[in-house]
Symmetry: C2
Subunit: 82 residues, 2 copies
């Protein structure tokens, strides 16, 4: 199944309480080398055909307009995966 993968993360300035809770739990369990955890979204767009350059450009637009909230989130990656 050809896919375009959109990766969305909370902005760096923003507190991520769920990520912080996971980081604290990992440190309590003895993973001292993990200094922080942030939790974002990985969204798969499925296509019937191999995505073209136009599909990728459209997906980047969709990622910015529709799949992320620009006030609190950054789109970090939009990539084709066949």
């Amino acid at each position: 199944m050809p896919k375009i993968i959109v990766e969305v993360m909370p902005k760096a300035d923003l507190l991520d309480p769920a990520g912080k809770a996971v980081a604290n739990a990992l440190q309590r369990k003895g993973n001292a080398e993990i200094s922080n955890v942030r939790i974002g979204k990985r969204i798969e767009l499925h296509y019937a055909h191999t995505p073209t350059e136009a599909d990728l450009a459209a997906a980047k637009q969709i990622a910015a307009d529709f799949l992320s909230n620009g006030v609190i989130e950054d789109v970090v990656n939009v990539t084709v995966e066949n």
Copy 2:
């Protein structure tokens, strides 16, 4: 900031109602070529140092045991990003 990225997706057999809702909305907006959407998680583990092979192995274990629910989710990728 060196990171290990853990990607977790709902299992393929599983209904993903949020993804389905996004797919329907995109199709209504005229993106007929997107047949389906699935929404998973992208988790960043931050390290003070460049992650070693041992860190990557530990992260894979953490991803399977702690960051994903094996009943409903698959860990699709665990990768180092410097």
